[in-house]
């Protein structure tokens, strides 16, 4: 192994890849490794609803060609899940029982689709829309023009919903307290936003809490959602969209502070000097509210990747958001969100 410092990034998303780019820009010699649980190169998740528009080859979603990683001397380790971080020995333990040493660590593991406990038992009957693979799985399960029942309806889900409507499918949203996540909508404003969804062609039903999901394959539709109220809705596909929960389990013994996400100062450093965090996984100290908070969305996350990398290289730049977090209703009655904004 070379003596150049080893900078390890856990997470192959926007934050991790932006950080790698900046790190390489600033230091031509350091060793950079990106460790990723997934099988693919860095790809654009924001455009995944396009699978319903016929764009189904995963290579069409790649942000960089394979050579990018070799050309920039960035080691990408896929299907490698970090199971544990041994901060004292500065080693990561991968789930396949390999140890990887690091000098500095950036945690950019993002979030996984949150699933309320009562729905976990029937998770195999529902879809999530988080990765290319899950998008394709849903695409294959959904007959042309079929009906999707979306539980929750976070902004990722609603982005998908508008594409589904556009491409001739039917979408029913079963709203809950995480509808419009990560936007926080007051009880007072909620009806007007739900009404906007209907303007967009999305059906919104309010049967109260979901009790269970039933497998009705072989019948006219494959699934039935049963509500506590006794009412039911049939669907070809049921998709759960309750926002994201930060992926921090593997950090539990790393000796850094965790609340829901990894707690970092505005410079994105955790409570340990050699460990930084960026993206959906971290909660950043905010002086104004005297507390830690999440910042979501492409622009924020990308900026966090950049700031964390610069600070790992010795700078002292605080993260400041430039995103106006308002969920707006446009003139045509449909909603728009800064969270849907990104530039490819």
């Amino acid at each position: 192994m070379s003596s150049a410092p080893h900078l390890v990034i856990i997470g192959n998303g926007v934050a991790g890849n932006r950080a790698a780019e900046i790190l390489r820009e600033k230091d031509k010699d350091c060793r950079i490794s990106i460790i990723s649980a997934g099988p693919l190169l860095f790809y654009n998740r924001y455009e995944l609803p396009d699978v319903f528009k016929g764009r189904q080859d995963w290579r069409d979603y790649l942000e960089n060609p394979p050579e990018y990683f070799s050309d920039n001397n960035i080691t990408l380790r896929r299907r490698s899940i970090v199971a544990d971080v041994d901060t004292e020995r500065r080693k990561l333990v991968l789930a396949h029982r390999e140890e990887v040493g690091f000098d500095q660590l950036l945690v950019a593991t993002g979030g996984a689709g949150y699933l309320p406990e009562r729905l976990q038992e029937t998770a195999s009957l529902t879809h999530q829309f988080t990765t290319y693979r899950s998008a394709m799985k849903m695409y294959k399960a959904l007959p042309k023009g079929g009906r999707v029942v979306m539980l929750g309806g976070d902004m990722i889900g609603l982005d998908l919903a508008r594409t589904l409507i556009e491409t001739g499918y039917q979408v029913t949203v079963v709203p809950g307290d995480r509808t419009f996540w990560p936007h926080e909508i007051s009880a007072e404003d909620r009806p007007k936003y739900l009404a906007a969804l209907e303007t967009m062609g999305i059906e919104v039903i309010n049967h109260g809490e979901v009790e269970r999901i039933e497998d009705t394959s072989g019948g006219a539709t494959a699934r039935r959602v049963v509500f506590v109220s006794g009412e039911t809705v049939s669907a070809d596909v049921v998709v759960t969209q309750y926002g994201l929960a930060p992926m921090v389990d593997f950090m539990s013994t790393a000796g850094v502070d965790i609340e829901r996400g990894l707690l970092v100062n505005p410079q994105l450093k955790t409570t340990r000097d050699e460990i930084y965090a960026a993206g959906d996984v971290c909660q950043i100290w905010e002086q104004e509210s005297n507390g830690y908070r999440f910042y979501y969305g492409w622009r924020n996350v990308r900026k966090m990747g950049e700031i964390s990398a610069r600070n790992m290289m010795g700078a002292d730049v605080p993260f400041e958001t430039e995103v106006d977090e308002q969920l707006i209703i446009k003139d045509d009655g449909s909603i728009d969100s800064p969270f849907w904004e990104y530039s490819a």
Binding site: L76, R79, R97, E98, R133
Partner: protein, 597 residues
Amino acid sequence: MTINGTDLQIAFCGSAGDGTIAVGDILKQAMAMAGYRVIAFDQYPAEIRGFGKCVSRTRVTGEQVYSMKQQTDILVSLDDSHAIPHASEVRDFGAVIYDNAPMSLMMEGEHISGHLQPGQIPYALPIREISERATGSNRGRNMVALGFVAGLYGLQQDVFHTIIARKFKTKPAAVTKDNTAAFDAGFDLGAGEFLFDEVSIGAPPAKAKHEARMLSGNSAVVEGCLDAGIEAYFGYPITPATTIMERLVTEMPKRGKRALQTEDEISAIAATIGAGYAGVRSATATSGPGLALMAEMLGLSVMAEVPSVIFVSQRGGPSTGMPTKTEQSDLNLAVFGGSGDAQRIVLAPTNVEGCWRCAGKAFEMAERYQTPVIVLLDLYLSNRYETVIVSPDERFEASSSKAMVPAKSGEKYQRFAKTDDGISPRAIPGQAGGIHTVTGLEHNDLGRPSDQANIHMDMSEKRHNKLSKAVDHPGITITKRFGDEGDVEVGILAWGSTFGESLEAMMLARDEGIKCAAMKVVMMSPLPEQPISEFMDSANEVLLPELNYEGQFAGIVSGTLGRPVNRLNMVPGTPMRVDDILNEIRRLAGREAKDAA
């Protein structure tokens, strides 16, 4: 080359004892049974179980090809320490399949996942754990991995079941059951896996008219010997020829024939010549060092005009050299080895079917031309497998001997009589009226020793001239041209196993717009001068790739025909790479060379 888009190379890599070669074997048998064409080449160490690297590579195509691809589509690691150096062989968007739940903690870099190129697609599964769950033991790891490959690419599960049952039919029933269970567990997982790579397999080609068999070069030699009615075999073991003897020793007694292991190679060739003299079809098999020992005796077969057949599988030399590596450096020894002007027939098959044909034809030729016939293979050809389809109507002549016509009363039988075709009618010992002298000394028509100048000159001429007819021997391809007709920019002359890579390189060059042709030369001695000359006339540049340092065939061609060739020589111990030949073609055609992938 690709029918229905099928051109797939799968490599299993493990440690000796992991069952790497065994799963490779099941895979190739199954693919052949499913109707595909297969070429496969295994590499394994001489060491015992638990040591050393084994790699089993199988290329599956719609049409038979005769070379392995440089880049593998799918690599399966059964042992990361051995597979890691091979990870770079996998092409972009090809697959690497490995165990993600190994037994022990690994240091950084010991797991294959850290060695994949960004373009390669990883598939990770707990191979050992699945085997333990399915069979209660980790010995089914290889079958789990094979099952995963089959499931992932939608290969026919039932065909694999048949081959697994066939492979273990002599073992207790539990062995087949466990192996099938391990295979099925892997299959289910593979079938449920999302396919990210670009590897695909089309439907098999239309069923061939005759049964396709999976044969290695050495087993094809054995089949050829048996089909030609071999009656006596004498041999001494040596890599990579040993398996010829091993199979003949089991097969010949079933047919009432004899195979004998002698004390050394000299004895083996002496006995072969003796049996040939007695009128039975006989052969021996060896490698370069063994042929060196046989060289003196070969002269007797030439001088006494006794048929003998010698199979030689070349390996890295000289001396003990590199016994488990391939090379083409015994050509000079095969063509010229021995004392005196001792011309003989040397055939060098270029593929497995050719091994069968050359083996059978060698007996016909040895008898017809009363000469030693050497069939020259190499380790790569001896050990590689191909699907072979031969019509059952194709038969070898049961006897090709120019039989003795009983002498008129008062006349002596002239064993070495001069005739128009240079071949003297041959008596078998014990044949009435056929009494004669046979000796390694120069002799007259009757076989009586003589050192008279005119006799030695006449007899030398006779022994050489009679062989010139061999180039027209029926039923065997001596040379064959492929690719562009007419004048070409580059013509490749190739022999032996290297012809397969040359053919592929030639086709790729044509795809790049280079006018190109390739000629395979099967008869190395006597040299088929006319077709080779015509081929050389049609090419601006002639390229002659061969796996030896000196350019032995290039020397023969240039020396005989008096014209230069461009030599491409290397001795890596492994088959020549298609890219190396292709780059040389490009250079000779004035195109830019490209980096080998």
